[in-house]
């Protein structure tokens, strides 16, 4: 699973992207967030308030209950501020 982080989510976690091989069963975005939060305090803090976390799976914005697969590109970021 390839994971990307943007904006302050990236700043808080401290990396731009990572490849994860997860042995646990991860079915949805929220499962992945739970897994990441357990990794260490940085992730735990970044994902503390899920109301300000947006997720894209293969570059499409999805809800956090969206199903995911091992070969997906997942991105986490705050609400977008373009223009």
């Amino acid at each position: 699973m390839h994971i990307k982080y943007f904006s302050w989510v990236k700043d808080q976690i401290g990396i731009e992207s990572e490849n994860l091989i997860i042995n646990k069963k991860i079915d949805s975005v929220i499962d992945l967030i739970t897994y990441l939060k357990n990794k260490n305090e940085k992730y735990n803090k970044a994902f503390e308030d899920l109301s300000v976390i947006r997720c894209a799976v293969n570059m499409e914005v999805v809800n956090l209950d969206n199903k995911i697969n091992d070969n997906d590109e997942i991105a986490f970021f705050p609400p977008m501020t373009g223009g």
């Binding site: 943007f6 904006s7 302050w8 894209a56 570059m59 977008m80 501020t81 373009g82």
Partner: protein, 146 residues
Amino acid sequence: MIKVQKDDFNVNQEIKDISSLNKNIGGIGLFIGKVREGNNSELKSMTLEHYPIMTEKKLENINNEAKVRWNLVDSLIIHRYGKLYPGDQIVLVATFSEHRADALESCEFLIDWLKTKAPFWKLEESNKGKIWVEEKKSDLEAANKW
């Protein structure tokens, strides 16, 4: 056409390039977004981060959507990324149509949409430090009205 780039853009040249291709353009809707210094001259710089490929994909989609909803001869979105300074241009939305309503409405639609649905994030640097810009409720409402 979509352009996501670090470099500045020349509005006159961009308009001229598209206008020269079609003599049936009767009106152009134009929006240029710029970096604001703030009322107390507090802003030093604004860094725009984006999600490459997804940005282009999303801008392409919304540009096509505008062409479905309005009768447009052509349309152009240029969005910059990287470190910008007060006064710099950030974004250009230009819509070309036979009649003004199509150009003006679609231009507003595109910039409203860009504000909340294009994967860009703004980091503002001022005397107080660096702060990621938060989503504005008014921007969300503006995007939802379409």
